[in-house]
Symmetry: D2
Subunit: 357 residues, 4 copies
């Protein structure tokens, strides 16, 4: 609860945007997995702000220090503690936002909930926290790799402009993780325009999981889909999620049901989940991101004493969080799948006997 | 996990569609609440299939037997066990579906996960289970009533036809929980047509929560929004969810940010949640239901031995689950809010002192 | 939490002593296990009060009704709901204890905690609740039987008189689950004397678990020993527990360390647990029960208004709870072991591959 | 689970004895508490090995670095991450124990459970981990201080020699946390003798909690006593626990029941807990520690290939862990009480209304 996610594969994050460090403890990792620290760093680099002009922000070096849980290059079954010290922790002047609530941010709610608030860069509510999730996700992916399960995500819509194609291989090379090469240029122009106008854009991320075994997901309240929803909806700026064909609610039963042949399902409107359990098809999910709340135009707000003020933010921010967010979506999904793999293996006496006899 | 939901207010359901009974244990209910058994029965009646021609199905009497946790009309703080015996448990002939996987149903995945499956009426995966959720939700609503928190839901879209108005008062009187009186007739015609054609329809439910205190929701992984998402996405046939303005991903930051005045927020694109914490505005959520998978046309499928077969279902089923589903959405939301109320009160030392000093 | 125990194998109990029913929902049971209803009834019979003169009390028929989770004689992986209706629910007159706090009972603390109290027969705090644990334990034992793991318990001390021998086979036949045939007569005399004097006796139960695989227990906070301690210390009237040689704290390291040979450990002071993990030796645990608090002599107490009163209880009660308690100790231990078996199987990538490849 | 403890006040530890660092994330801390870093350091100093000749071992500087959760000297409600880097991490030669299982240690079980083992200084199973618990306990004590709840512990028995008095004030000044000034000298002589003989001693710690409100503890499975048992039994080398009068199992009901007057209970055999709920009296608990398994005499064992070997350990070790262990007992108890305080405040509608109205 609070700052942890998962049942068996369970991680806990801590740290504020401009505090001393952020970090994560990943518990429940099985022993005997090759720990690929380069891969971990690459995953963090993929999420890193300032990587390109489309998601410029402060420089985060994001050097993860692995403090425990690894011995002679392998996981030992003990918790993996990872810390990333905040290099960008300089004594910036926050006097302009110290006592006001930025629209679209969590300033207002944190203050009212806790009566105290670390206002530096959003504190705990900053997207900075998602770096810790990416660490957990990278470790989860190391487990999934052993079973050839693949998790991939890319951008399918920006500023209301929708992709026509879905090319996950292309997204891997794209600067903006674009799933559609043909829309990429238009999207980049939209982003540039938003930045120039001190505005920001929403977007949609598509997630796909391949090679998942049949049977993952624990009905009724730890289904594959509702837990993925919980994981992904916890990401900053995510407001909606849809599993499978995002028009399912407009379809009839005849159109929407996926018929079955001896070679598998004849369609995948279900997005790979039936009754909360994976059916062997690809998991397909759309994730809806709101536009970045940090914009650089005057906005009406109030201060902590209830006085009306005009908010004028300065600085550099991501004009669109969906791009970097796609890496976080992958990470959260990887953590869920790792958890579900371990839970599911305990669900039949045949499996139990395979281990103990 | 598995068949439980919630942290403090935590319920556990059990029972199969055509087993002996379904039931629920509601734990974590505070002591001292008037237990309104009539209200509980009314809530079950609202969900009941066969209530009208728009959701005909078998007769469920749904008489809840309260087995524990109440003394002299009040909750005692001990778990409330409630059982509903299945009256409709007659030895129907299931030989036609015993060995086949109905498209759109969980037959395929349950069989592969567990190697055994109670095929009678869908067994555990049947929407019958949601009656147990409504019991939990009714108890949660008894708590919320003490704080004047209101939870209401209705249908905002059927078969692709969208409401123009949102009138929650009207929905309470509407046979199909229609939020828009002017669309009601058209929707009823669509449903009738689908039934005649042995087909089914998807739909969209809108949920609204009023009078919620500021501060509910526990960042980072037990946020108000991601837990509501988990709760609601666990409902049968729900494929998507959106919190706040369902076009947020198409908007710019200037359009989407909710500015603040001394009288509150000037808009509510956020749907009442900022940083995972309630901001005092109404919670507004859209829920996307797929069409009922039970249709009465021939469909391609396979049997448990992998042979291709044609599935021909017979009987009466709801042509649209979204209508009854709206009651379940309310129930799940009520449970989440009850849980969040109790968690949040522990989050400051000022609150703790209010209790112990 | 509250009324649930376990992580994977997790059960939830409900019900008051003189309410309508008590019951349990057992979640996380693997699919495919033969459900032995006769065994379940036998386990309840072993715990049943009134079975013999040594634990006379009211008649409980204790007929368990299995409501879900079983299909064609096997577990299906869905939750098993079991209810036992209270036959002995007659409108007894409780006016003598309604407003007073019986010494040694939970009357005082329940009243102060909840401001309301079901005073009929102790309500939720009655040992009646342990029948629900025995149901869960019986199901756990059905799992353990598949792996030949044996759980057995008996009485090793009554009224300060200690056994000289430990014969678990004899205990199974003994009316008072005596581990020492030679002490049995003396113990029975002590019990008879206590009953005649309207007094009660404490006792010690010894638990032994055989054929446990090496590796069960999840360090650091879900160790085999601390979870067994939690499970067993939650039983009514248990005040202490000791794992392994109960004199370990008086020994030196030279005396206490169990040396190892190629055929196993040369002694078992550790009681089968090292670092919280089973080491392949028998688990051995002593459990310390206080005397039954229900005695039939005048006692000083206060009423709910703080007035001093003399308490004079009437009726028939167990003069010693340790005897029946030994069945509950077994049950709780069985549940813990079932849980640990499933958790442990997820702890290496080798095991995961055994299932998914 | 695994490496976390608690429900609301919940901490997670990580780190191996000779890894890069150990640490803890403390979640669920209420906002608004003065963070006393000096007190935190003092608590670690009390536990520190090498503090005196009675618990010499390696030098641990144990400088805690607080990475998050504190702002302007107060807790913010976000998780508090604390890391202690291992200064003593030098490349010591472990070749003598690398492949063998030290008797009384967890070497054997960790290796069989995980198939891999960090053998350096016991790795994760080392008592080094308890420093992280003391950090969590110190934070819990900061909460308890706000309500004047006091937690104190001392040594009541060493090497079979029992105290006659219990003076918790004296224990605070005593080099060996002796509860009995008159036994202190004898105990020190026993310890010196054990060290000279390369042997070790067991002992008993007594814990006392004062000024606890009535009502803490959540029946039936999260009782105050069974959760304290779980917390304390998870500490390295603890083999038993007893709540209240440790002879309760030898007493009769007449002797053991605590009668009640208008001024409170007339005795405290119950140790402050009835029905799993605090009754306002002092909580009193005895904790039984086995002797340190590290002894410096030849012992029989096997290596990882099953060959019989003679183990000859060298170095400096605590001849008795109970002394330092008493600080860890206090810490775990403090964490449990902090958790229980927050859970209990949610248990009546009156309390909920106090917060929200």
């Amino acid at each position: 609860m609070f700052n942890s996610f998962g049942e068996i594969f369970r991680f806990t994050t801590f740290g504020e945007s401009h505090g001393r460090a952020i970090g994560v403890v990943v518990d429940g990792v099985p022993a005997g997995i090759e720990f690929d620290e380069e891969f971990l760093k690459n995953e963090l680099a993929r999420r890193k702000p300032g990587k390109n002009r489309f998601s410029t922000q402060r420089k985060e070096d994001d050097l993860p220090e692995v403090l425990s849980g690894i011995f002679e290059g392998k996981t030992t079954g003990t918790p993996i503690g990872v810390v990333i010290f905040n290099k960008d922790q300089k004594s910036k002047d926050y006097s302009n936002i110290k006592d006001i609530f930025r629209p679209g941010h969590a300033d207002f709610t944190y203050f009212h909930k806790y009566s105290i608030r670390d206002y530096r860069g959003g504190g705990r509510s900053s997207a900075r926290e998602t770096a810790a999730r990416v660490v957990a996700g990278a470790i989860a992916k190391m487990i999934l790799k052993e079973l050839n399960i693949e998790i991939e995500a890319g951008v399918i819509e920006i500023g209301g402009v929708r992709a026509k194609n879905e090319d996950f291989e292309y997204a891997k090379k794209s600067e903006i993780f674009a799933l559609d090469k043909e829309k990429e240029k238009e999207w980049i122009e939209l982003i540039d325009k938003a930045r120039e106008e001190h505005n920001s854009l929403g977007g949609v991320v598509k997630l796909r999981i391949k090679n998942l075994p049949i049977g993952l997901g624990e009905p009724i309240y730890y289904k594959l889909d509702n837990v993925l929803a919980s994981a992904i909806m916890s990401i900053n700026a995510v407001k909606g999620i849809y599993i499978g064909n995002p028009n399912a609610h407009k379809l009839t039963g005849v159109e929407n049901n996926d018929e079955i042949s001896k070679n598998g399902f004849l369609s995948n409107n279900a997005g790979g989940v039936l009754g909360g359990i994976s059916n062997g098809e690809n998991i397909e999910i759309e994730v809806y991101f709101k536009p970045t709340p940090s914009i650089f135009k005057p906005q009406k707000s109030i201060d902590i004493n209830g006085n009306e003020v005009e908010v004028n933010l300065k600085g550099r921010h991501d004009p669109i969080v969906a791009i970097r967010g796609s890496v976080v979506v992958e990470s959260m999904a990887a953590c869920v799948i790792a958890d579900m793999l371990m839970l599911n293996m305990t669900r039949t006496i045949e499996n139990i006997k395979k281990i103990y006899q």
